[in-house]
Symmetry: C3
Subunit: 338 residues, 3 copies
Amino acid sequence: MAPPAHTLTQLAERFGLGLRGDGNTAVCGVATLAGAGHGELGFLANPRYRSELAATRAGAVVLREADAESAPCPCLIAKDPYLAFAKIAALFDPRQSPAPGIHASAAIDPTAHIDPKAHIGAFVSIGARSRIEAGAIVGPGCVIGADCVVGASSELVARVTLVTRVRLGQRVLVHPGAVLGADGFGLVRNGDHWIKVPQLGGVVVGDDCEIGANTSIDRGALDDTVLEEDVRLDNQIQIAHNVRIGAHTAMAGCVGVAGSTKIGRNCLIAGAVGINGHIEICDDVVVHAAGVVLQSITQPGEYASGTLLQDHRGWRRNAARFKQLDEMARKLHTLAKD
Amino acid sequence: MAPPAHTLTQLAERFGLGLRGDGNTAVCGVATLAGAGHGELGFLANPRYRSELAATRAGAVVLREADAESAPCPCLIAKDPYLAFAKIAALFDPRQSPAPGIHASAAIDPTAHIDPKAHIGAFVSIGARSRIEAGAIVGPGCVIGADCVVGASSELVARVTLVTRVRLGQRVLVHPGAVLGADGFGLVRNGDHWIKVPQLGGVVVGDDCEIGANTSIDRGALDDTVLEEDVRLDNQIQIAHNVRIGAHTAMAGCVGVAGSTKIGRNCLIAGAVGINGHIEICDDVVVHAAGVVLQSITQPGEYASGTLLQDHRGWRRNAARFKQLDEMARKLHTLAKD
Amino acid sequence: MAPPAHTLTQLAERFGLGLRGDGNTAVCGVATLAGAGHGELGFLANPRYRSELAATRAGAVVLREADAESAPCPCLIAKDPYLAFAKIAALFDPRQSPAPGIHASAAIDPTAHIDPKAHIGAFVSIGARSRIEAGAIVGPGCVIGADCVVGASSELVARVTLVTRVRLGQRVLVHPGAVLGADGFGLVRNGDHWIKVPQLGGVVVGDDCEIGANTSIDRGALDDTVLEEDVRLDNQIQIAHNVRIGAHTAMAGCVGVAGSTKIGRNCLIAGAVGINGHIEICDDVVVHAAGVVLQSITQPGEYASGTLLQDHRGWRRNAARFKQLDEMARKLHTLAKD
């Protein structure tokens, strides 16, 4: 099957872009500036790649007006070239939605409701009273427990688990290995043993959320764990019970959020950040990579913690001194007074 | 199906609690103080929620004697209200154990032994010589390799993998995505390539342990990796080969423990802690969130490492100075001598 | 089935080792010095275990020439005893390769190609145009999407997901829960919502790589995410889109690598290290446990960051002072000038 081809004129009209050069130029794929070949469309968004523009062999490039001068080929002009590129690239994504219907191997509880326009893949298990809405895709190997909802046009790519009482909105995308709705980690000592605190809540995921591979979101103890709309979680993330994440907040890989914490809207949480339980982070907060958030954040802004990498020998000396830091500060204070 | 209802008198007798107010008050569910409605039982354990007591609409509340005065409704009096609440809440957990029996789709090695009182779900695979004991539940999509044991009344919720030589005690609970008994990460250089060190041990998990979603516990190289009884692991944890974890120790999410380390009994390891290999941590140790344990800990107590979050600009300045810390300490020493 | 037995003479010849003592001594298993019994072979590689040599009840020991003197039993002499031990131990690994063939339950797209010498386990799903080569093992519960390749003699142990466009070389070993080829985390703001940047690349994994349990490797946005040959990844690792990892590099558990970063050959990345996106790490770099790499590393060597664990109370004081570190440095500078 030949890939689709689009002329620059077609793309400019469809996505509201400017055009410089021959509008009949056709592109049949997208690529980086360095990797693009003859019939492919490249893009220049990050200034660090500007030096690659002159030498690109791309058939055309999407870029800002100011960069068009230096392009050796026809250009599409965009205020936000990365956004324009994302929209154009979607035209070339070869993934196809599977046809509606239920794979013969699927094990579906008789009380579950599967919309006839949903797709249920091989070796899928669906529990009592769960509902799969129109256009939803439940890929191979998924396990859906009791009392779950997969909203219209949502997709569980493969091997996703919704344990119990997990309600996904519309157009939610969940990647393989993700586990939503497992027991929150609620324990209380009973003499010298632990006993479990029953986890009676669920998980509510708003429209347009995305949840990465091997990410875990526990269900709430009494109330629900909540992701508002358009929350974007990368891979290997841990969201504990009763956390609430505000709309449009994005988290990169390996983040952990402890129980009952509330995170605001439009936050950006970088990779490997750790966030304490029972705190609140306000809207519009950025936490830099590997930051550890122990206390509530009440002001929008950018935050960080940790130390910088250095050679191991030098680090050892400095790290040893960190243990004396308070003593150093006192000594310094005394000296300054003298 | 209507939820069960219990009068306060019944609950007080069953769990040995005090009672203040009308013992005929019936509750048919549990909730937070803020969320509880008319027929529901709330609880007050954490003092930070004390301000919510006066306004609660709960039908009844479990709390300490000292707080009963301020309650606007009948009360159950407990020395440990959270513990009492956990026990009561279990009465309202709607989860039902699946019936014994083997799902028609399951693929079971003829040399495996499945107790007739065990439940084996859809798309479960069980390998040679493995044994599933009475009352055990193996949920949908689980893979159990060769020479494993799932002890009586243990539960693999769904999509759990026991790779090989994994022996679970009784009443062990394992959440989806957990992988027990994968090869330990044993490598040795052979010229310019790595070769694998065979991982001939297994994993032994004591009675009453709980293992979180997407947690990994590798099998030992020669001896076994061991969790003693009542160890509680949250989600996204990595336990390397030949680690031993003492009874009643609990670990929050995203902890990593490197190989051959021994952790004592009754330890509390907070989220995102990293623990080095080949060290020992004694009993009754608490490691605070995101702490990094490089050396053995020989004294019970609370430990931490890292720096505190601050605004990014200020952090950059301080982090740059950390690299000069040893030099600063020497300079300070010289000044103090002068 | 009795385990195989090997005489020391046979082992010495097969692996090019020296022999001291009775070459007819037979061993039928391997063990630690402390755990070895009568017919078992122990080993002494790490000097910290030297004190256990005199008391070992092993039937024989592999060790360096210099240690042979102190052994109470016959010895195999090796320059690298751990390497010799790894090779010998492989003789005693009871795991057996499953027979070629396709399990009756497997769901295989008609356009996929399965070599007759490959093994496909129960509940495996294989997508369009994917190819499973000779001697490959696809264990139970694996999901392989479209356009993937599992190279000759590679093994997906169980419950592995190759999402789409994942090409594994030969003798690649992937442990349960691993997810390769999920969408990279590419997002761009479109007004107040995120939209996805299509992830059109794939994942390429070189010969002899190993990928741990519950590890995630995303596919590239335009170009591929690449692991060169003999890369070894432990469990719970996150590799973002368009990362490239050089040959023979090994990473311990819980490492996270952000997008488009290039890591050199023969690097050792310890547990819980975080590596920023869009940077380069040269060959022969060691990063110590929990280090955070924000900027490119251009010189081979050992690197670290972070602070050392201490008692919680002392840590609090020092951590509070870290926020004043730049101010302290300035004050110190002023004092030194006076």
